[in-house]
Each structure stands twice: as structure tokens, then as C-alpha cells.
């Protein structure tokens, strides 16, 4: 029997005030997975973005989880950047970002990782909730599509689900990708910067799990979308005037 090559994957989870669900989300994540040609070892890194609850303590309480803490709350973009830097500096082959509220299924994460291993020319693989027949509510679909079009108009890059948090990054992406946004605009800016850096981007259909918790916690639909829109416009202006 041929020996499978070992792959180290860093699962980056930015978290802000997620103490009530985080431990369960972390326990459901895979530790080891056998792909056709690879043996995949996972390490989970939680970046607590200055939470006022026990998010950090909950993360530390789960065996095998690396917990990082931001002293002050900077936003999802900043927390993701910290986690990706950890993955880069610790020599991981791949990194995957996931939401802390359990919105992403472990099977979808594995699906994305298997695809990037099967297609090594890809650098950034984005899980798209709009490419599946999933259970995304209609108003969320409209909001996400709208933001994807805005991303295209402002930044010149189109993907169907520009706000998806489930993404896989190749080693090349970890080394070459950088972005400035500290807030939610990072989702769109990252795609833009990836294109600028000459990275190859693709999308993969995923399901979105909407629990009562994630529905309550999630961005207020219209105001959330408007906030991201404003952040994207600011980002674009800053790129011109700075």
C-alpha cells in the first residue's frame, strides 16, 4: 500500500462573543481526514476578537485548539488576518476560514479541501451558498447577490457569493494575499486583492446552516448590507486617495 502524503491544514475561526456555541462548533470539526492521496491533519485556531464574554476561555477549553486573543475588538477582517498569519508563520499547507456560529458544515469544509487538493492550481476556493440549492432565505439571497454585484462594480471582480466566510487558501495564497479592511468589507476586498496578486480563484457549492442562534446573531439584513456597502465604498476611495 502506498504511503499517503501528509497535509497540514489550519482551520481559522474568527470569533466575537460566541461563547454559547463555540465549544460545540469546535468539537464537530474534523481532526484527521483521509483523502485518496493525502492524509490531512487539522489544527483549529480560534481568534477571539476582543469578546466581552468567555469566547477565549471556551476555545482554550477544547483540546487541541489554539486560541489567540485580540486585546481590543477590531472586526472580522482583522481577526481573520491574524489567523491567516498564524497559518502562514507556522508553515501550514492550507488554511480554511469558517464562521464561529456553526453556519458551515464540516462536510462542506472537507469538500472544499478535497477540491483544492485535486486541483492544485487553485489558490483561493470560496464556498458559495448561491451555487447550491440550499436553504438560504430569499432576502439573504437578494442581499448577497446585491453585494456581489456591488463588489464587481467597485472592485471589478465577480464571484457569486462574495460574503461567504468558508474559504480555502493555498500556501501561495497565504504568502501573497494581503488586505486592509478590518471590518466585513474584507470578504470582498480579499477577492479583489487575490485577483491583483495573480491568484487563481474558484467557487464551490456549499450549504448554509441557519440555526435560531445564527439567525438572531447575524447581521441585520438591510442595515448589515448597507454597512458593508459603505465600507466597500470607503475602501475603494481610500485605495485611490491614500
Amino acid at each position: 500500500m502506498s504511503k499517503r502524503k501528509q497535509i497540514r491544514v489550519c482551520v481559522v475561526i474568527p470569533a466575537y462573543n460566541e461563547a454559547s456555541v463555540l465549544a460545540e462548533v469546535l468539537r464537530n470539526l474534523p481532526k484527521l481526514h483521509h483523502h485518496q492521496s493525502f492524509k490531512i491533519n487539522f489544527t483549529t485556531v480560534v481568534v477571539d476578537d476582543g469578546s466581552s464574554d468567555n469566547t477565549y476561555q471556551e476555545a482554550r477549553g477544547v483540546e487541541g485548539v489554539v486560541a489567540l486573543k485580540h486585546i481590543i475588538n477590531m472586526g472580522a477582517g482583522a481577526a481573520t488576518r491574524t489567523g491567516l498569519r498564524y497559518a502562514k508563520e507556522h508553515g501550514y499547507d492550507l488554511a480554511i476560514t469558517m464562521d464561529a456560529d456553526g453556519q458551515h458544515a464540516a462536510n462542506d469544509a472537507l469538500g472544499l479541501i478535497e477540491r483544492i487538493l485535486d486541483e492544485p492550481e487553485l489558490d483561493l476556493l470560496i464556498g458559495s451558498r448561491l451555487k447550491s440549492d440550499g436553504n438560504m432565505p430569499r432576502h439573504k439571497k437578494i442581499g448577497n447577490k446585491g453585494l456581489s454585484y456591488v463588489t464587481f462594480l467597485l472592485l471589478g471582480t465577480y464571484v457569486s457569493d462574495s460574503q461567504s466566510g468558508l474559504r480555502v487558501y493555498s500556501r501561495k495564497a497565504l504568502e501573497n494575499l494581503s488586505y486592509h479592511s478590518n471590518n466585513y468589507a474584507f470578504c470582498s476586498e480579499m477577492i479583489w486583492q487575490a485577483k491583483r496578486a495573480g491568484l487563481r480563484i474558484a467557487e464551490h457549492p456549499i450549504e448554509a446552516i441557519y440555526t435560531e442562534y445564527s439567525k438572531q446573531k447575524g447581521q441585520k439584513n438591510f442595515s448589515g448590507a448597507m454597512k458593508i456597502l459603505q465600507q466597500l465604498v470607503n475602501r475603494r476611495i481610500m485605495d485611490i486617495i491614500q
Binding site: L68, I71, A78, T82, H180, M238, Q242
Partner: protein, 117 residues
């Protein structure tokens, strides 16, 4: 003193300063080519606007496109301060962005170092 000449004297130094600064930043590698082109275009348009205000006004009056009164000293001062305010707002915004980036970098560095201890 000719008010149009006063407008030029008060505003051209800002424009020249903007052009020189953009060139220096480009040479130092702070600005990309796109950023340099954006700034140079902006300042050249401003320069053309300031240098040819009288001709522009005469053209508009001559073609019945405006009925506003000729340039006054108050207009000159208003235009100059608007220009100055715009420049200051942009610089302030850029500095705020830089300060925010430094805080984010510090936060990131501390999180990573703290994890290693």
C-alpha cells in the same frame, strides 16, 4: 488687484505642492502608477480650473449658460478655503486609516506573541 490673478496667486501654490508631493511619493514607492496618475490628473484639472476661471466665466456668460455675477473677493476666499479644506480632509482621512492600520497590526502582533508564551 485683479481678482482672477488673486485666485491664481492663492491657489496655485497648493496645486504645485500637491503635484510635487505626488511625484515624491511615487519615487519613494509609496504610490503606485495608478495612484500617481489619479493625483496628477486631479491637480492638473484643478490647475486648469484656476488658471482659466475668467475664460470659463466669459464662455458661460457669452453662451447664456449662467447669469451669476463676476468673481468677488469673497468668492476668491471661499474657493481658496474650500480647496484647503478638501486637501486637509483627505490628508486627515488618510492619516486616520494609517493609525487604524497600526492599531490592527499591534493587536495582531500581541495576539500571536501572547499565544507563543
Amino acid at each position: 488687484m485683479n481678482k482672477y490673478l488673486l485666485l491664481i496667486i492663492l491657489n496655485v501654490p497648493f496645486i504645485v505642492y500637491g503635484l510635487i508631493k505626488a511625484t515624491i511619493y511615487y519615487k519613494e514607492g509609496v504610490y503606485s502608477v495608478l495612484q500617481l496618475v489619479t493625483r496628477v490628473t486631479f491637480w492638473i484639472l484643478a490647475l486648469v480650473g484656476v488658471l482659466f476661471t475668467q475664460q470659463l466665466y466669459n464662455f458661460l456668460i457669452g453662451h447664456d449658460l449662467t447669469n451669476s455675477s463676476p468673481l468677488s473677493i469673497a468668492d476668491v476666499l471661499l474657493a481658496t478655503f474650500s480647496f484647503l479644506s478638501l486637501t486637509m480632509i483627505i490628508r486627515l482621512y488618510a492619516r486616520m486609516e494609517k493609525a487604524e492600520k497600526k492599531v490592527a497590526d499591534l493587536n495582531e502582533e500581541l495576539a500571536l506573541r501572547y499565544a507563543e508564551d
